[in-house]
Symmetry: C2
Subunit: 436 residues, 2 copies
């Protein structure tokens, strides 16, 4: 059977990895796909740049329109990232009858609804396995592997940079700024790390996961986002002492009152498998009604791990390229007419447990006034740990674990506590999930 | 679009689970599949038996031929287990143009080659996700999610009974027989537990995993099989002391000299994620050239977890039911003409590390004679732990960790050691894998 012709847009880290894997494993891949997959052209930023990857037989151009309008290309692989011009290129490729594979989480999270609409009209496939958790086949697992289930919730460590920083802080006791600097030196964090450490990248991915898990439209703007830049070594140490590890987690939950979409640092019991996912590795834990918990673990970024998912998508497209479009796997796991616009809950409506830490002056009645504030709002304290001298009028740290409660109530209580004259500064607050 | 009609063979644990999940999640499932999936008939062992599951609208019969010859059934779901008559029924269904979904690992491991041959001739799908690791979508992940990769090895905790027993022995310090009895009382082990605790069930599953990972024919007879019945609490304790956990693992490795297929108890460093997979849970760790390590975790057995995979297969079949058979996912991940009959290595050719424990009389020269035996065969000792009194002529236990070596050499050395007059009884030997 004749080869399938591919055009790449982007020949950076992931683009080079994709070309390398397609060449090195050409035989292995065509044994699986049943046809040869051949890259015939690639759009690059700078033709004059020296490249490590072997581009023999690949027509290189600085003009991505040449890819989108190439008469022999059947599948366009977009590996540039960002939106704007890239959205135009992807829509152009679909207009020209080309299938699309993309690793671009921002593009899918922000513009996926219109992209899939166009693809359906044209009877084309848009595949995006590599957009979430790199090389882990999490889109496929949820979309196809768990199709029997009502998915209840999922929780993912889906940003390698944040997980690397938290892991290093936990293991070495170093502070956030020093670890971030090391991560930048090692190439695990960008020069401007905002997207990763402030949770925006994780929120893009959570948007996509929630959509395929629950059959809801993509809606990035509804995700609650908090990064890891406020986490201190002190909190990590206390959490450990209490049997918890601090992880940056994206959580989507389908509850009776609506769907929770949130990205924030979270204490997880050390005994949970996902609490032991360290360094730049990613993992997604999915709780479903029939199968119960399942977990998917692997590299969430990097050249070849991401290429692994890009090429898996190519194989999928090749395997289905001649079939009836109506019967393909729907982009968002559910068929178009069954996308339900369920309400997204505001963060204040979300119920979760908390780790709180506050500095107070050690004098009679302090604990009583704090406990009264929580008690008045029906908030239960699970355990209290006091750190510091026993001398009257000295500063001591109080750590509290708070049982599941509405975030709105908790925020109000914490505000009152902070107004007490015996409480110094802000109350540190980290959410806590049993994940079971 | 009109409903797809299903016939069940078997309405035991998994059959009831399948019917229950299909009914409870009917809406969720048809939102994904695009069509209603309706069970219209089921073959049962005893019509008079009281059932918990709601069989309204399902025609029940004790004659499975009625399912296989039913004019309205498009997909037959086989959930009885075993071979013999069941193989006949499956081949009959294929002859009659029905697609087949099965949870039967023995059937696929022993007769898969002929079943798939018939299915290809007829242009039909045979799906078997539930045959390996229950509800974990491991077949799909390897066959489709990792299709870009040259898979190097995989290691799986793929028998829940064995993992439960080892976990209990580790956590409670109880011995094998007592834990087995508890497991039987709890329903985690069969009255005759041989298939599970002697590794046969795990070997069926490993046969299937290896085939789809490497593109080789199914060949159960080539798997090396060792169960857990010889593991003692003493060994588990020492392993822990050394930083390892004892797990029952199926390993398939594609090495230059051939393919390793083996099922046996294995020490794994406690820090590995898979070492922390406890109780009846399963996990499969796959090492591939592009993506690196990925791990898949979940329930490996049980009514609804297994039904989850059965129904996922049904959705897959429904999604592809009208497509060109040439372009479907090949049963064994690789296309028929690309199945390579690569040689399977004999266990003696396999290189692995070892945990050894022996009882010796504490007198001068004992250690020297043991060390000489290993040294003469170029076998390196990584560490030695001596347990027991320091008094001359008392019995002491010696535990050794042996670096990677050919099993053939190790067996020979151990035989020599056992012949020493100062060594009492047999040398306990458990293989050890870094899994990294």
């Amino acid at each position: 059977m004749k080869a399938v012709n591919i055009g790449l847009i982007g020949l950076g880290t992931v683009g080079s990895g994709t070309l390398t894997v397609l060449k090195r494993n050409a035989q292995e891949i065509s044994r699986r796909a049943g046809r040869e997959i051949r890259v015939i052209a690639a759009a690059v930023k700078d033709l004059s740049k020296q490249r490590d990857v072997d581009t023999e037989g690949v027509y290189l151009t600085e003009n991505m329109d040449e890819i989108v309008n190439h008469p022999d290309i059947e599948i366009v692989v977009e590996l540039v990232g960002g939106d704007g011009l890239i959205l135009e290129a992807v829509m152009g490729a679909l207009d020209n009858g080309m299938h699309v594979v993309t690793a671009n989480k921002a593009l899918i999270a922000l513009h996926g609804n219109e992209i899939f609409q166009k693809a359906r009209e044209k009877g084309l496939v848009v595949a995006f396995e590599s957009a979430v958790a790199g090389g882990i086949p999490i889109i496929k697992s949820i979309r196809e592997g768990l199709s029997a289930n009502r998915i209840e919730w999922l929780a993912g460590i889906i940003n390698g940079t944040s997980n690397y920083i938290l892991t290093e802080m936990t293991e070495s006791g170093a502070n956030f700024d020093d670890v971030l600097k090391d991560a930048q030196d090692l190439g695990y964090a960008e020069a401007d790390p905002t997207f990763d450490i402030e949770g925006i990248d994780a929120a893009h991915k959570l948007t996509i996961l929630a959509s395929i898990a629950f059959g809801i439209p993509l809606q990035f703007d509804s995700v609650y986002v908090e990064g890891i830049s406020a986490i201190t070594g002190e909190d990590i140490t206390y959490a450990e002492e209490l049997g918890y590890r601090v992880k940056h987690v994206g959580i989507a939950r389908n509850s009776e009152s609506g769907i929770e979409l949130r990205v924030h640092p979270t204490l997880i019991p050390v005994s949970r498998l996902i609490a032991n996912v360290n360094g730049v590795m990613n993992a997604v834990l999915v709780e479903s009604d029939a199968v119960g918990p399942t977990l998917y673990y692997g590299a969430g970024a990097g050249s070849e791990p991401t290429a692994s998912a890009v090429v898996a998508d190519l194989v999928d497209v090749v395997r289905t390229i001649t079939t009836d479009p109506e019967n393909r796997v729907p982009h968002l796991a559910f068929h178009k007419d069954n996308i339900i616009d369920a309400p997204i809950m505001d963060m204040s409506q979300v119920e979760t447990a908390y780790y709180l830490r506050m500095t107070v002056t050690n004098k009679p009645g302090v604990m009583a006034s704090i406990a009264t504030i929580f008690g008045d709002r029906d908030i239960s304290i699970d355990s209290i740990l006091q750190k510091g001298s026993g001398h009257r009028n000295d500063d001591v740290s109080i750590i509290m674990l708070i049982q599941n409660t509405l975030e709105g109530n908790l925020v109000e209580a914490v505000t009152r506590v902070e107004e007490l004259s015996t409480v110094k500064g802000r109350v540190i607050r980290i959410r806590m999930e049993q994940l079971s």
